[in-house]
Amino acid sequence: MSNSLGAPVRLCWVIVALLTGHAAFAANSEAGFKASYAAADAAEKQAGLLRNQWLVTEAALTEARKAAEKNDFDQAVAAAKEAEALAKASIYQATSEKAAWKNLEIR
């Protein structure tokens, strides 16, 4: 989507975003991607500690990296956010299953 006000305005927003740390403003930039990827990666690592990662999370992280390599940061951030959501779901699964497994137990 072209912005008629051009690069200077975008640059201002990036600076604001970096200063305020608000990822939403920097959604289309490499910095934004790095932030959302870091969040996703951290969540996936936590899922790893719980020994409960999902293949789709890994796939989304790979997709995010590949998109970033091609400088498609919109796609990269979208994939990173998806990865974070999936990782968090797997964490939720591992945590709730700590008690819930008993529901399936043959007794």
Partner: protein, 299 residues
């Protein structure tokens, strides 16, 4: 111990002491007689679990002979059974079995053999695995024992998911065909913990598809999952390793655990990781008494 109050009044003090001793001895004997397997203070009772586990499947499939559960889906589907019985006259795993026999007999560089690492020269002992090793405090599976044997004799470990490990375990299983699974849980809290961890793993939902092992193999044995018929969890490891038509070859227990994880879209753990060993320990223990039917063949 205040038992003397209800002893006959004519029994003297010596007699009371003897009675107390006799009572203690008989109580101890009774406890030993009952506790074949250890029971943890917090109520982990593997023997009770195993009885409940087996009863569940016997009730669910009353037409199936108990030993037949070791044949997995063939016990539950007549058509598949007929095809399998025909193929058993000329099984697809023959090549792997022969390769396994050769590999097992081949000496290491230092002149020793696999046979030197196992009881009874490694013949007819598969039904005793997995075992709990009290020295290391961990479960030792047959696959792990084979690689430990290699490393103890200066050889490099081989892949847990490759053809050679499959062939070796196929041969060892074959020498134990018909022997009942005989898994022991020693009176050691770590062994009970390993058993319980394996049990928990079995019933825990995982992967994006949110299935536990139990979802397919306890709740839906005999049902179809795409073109496959699901095996019951009872006896499911008795046929390992298996020649899978899908794989076009023989595959180990490690390989099967890993692919089951991926199939529910969970990232698999490393072969022979603690979770998988504990799982094998639990699943084998609750199938105690069922015969070894390996190496098996499956679709």
């Amino acid at each position: 111990m205040r038992v003397h109050r209800w002893l006959p009044h004519f029994v003297g003090r010596a007699g009371r002491r003897l009675s107390v001793r006799l009572l203690s001895i008989s109580l101890a004997a009774l406890l030993l007689a009952v506790a074949h397997t250890a029971v943890a203070a917090d109520g982990v009772d593997p023997a009770k679990d195993a009885r409940a586990f087996q009863d569940y499947f016997f009730k669910k499939f009353p037409g199936v002979k108990p030993d037949d559960f070791a044949n997995g889906p063939y016990a539950l589907n007549e058509d598949m059974r007929r095809q399998w019985e025909e193929k058993e006259q000329f099984p697809p795993y023959e090549f792997s079995l022969e390769a396994g026999k050769e590999l097992f007999a081949k000496p290491f560089a230092n002149g020793k053999h696999y046979a030197d690492c196992f009881a009874d020269q490694g013949i007819g002992i598969r039904q005793d695995y997995p075992q709990f090793d009290t020295k290391s405090g961990k479960v030792i599976t047959l696959e792990l024992a084979l690689n430990r044997c290699r490393e103890a004799n200066g050889e490099k470990a081989i892949s847990y998911t490759g053809d050679d490990m499959a062939a070796l375990t196929a041969y060892m299983a074959f020498t134990s065909r018909g022997k009942p699974l005989n898994i022991k849980i020693p009176d050691d809290p770590r062994a009970l913990e390993a058993y319980e961890d394996g049990k928990r793993y079995f019933y825990t939902r995982r992967g994006q598809l949110n299935f536990s092992c139990a979802t397919c193999h306890v709740q839906n044995p005999g049902e179809r999952l795409r073109a496959e018929v699901l095996a019951p969890a009872l006896g499911i490891l008795n046929a390992m390793p298996i020649y899978r038509s899908e794989w076009g070859g023989m595959g180990t227990t490690s390989r099967r655990f890993i692919t089951c994880n991926s199939q529910v879209r969970g990232v698999p753990l490393e072969p022979q990781s603690d979770e998988y060993r504990d799982l094998e320990y639990f699943l084998s223990y609750v199938s105690n008494g069922l015969p070894i039917s390996g190496p098996g063949s499956r679709p």
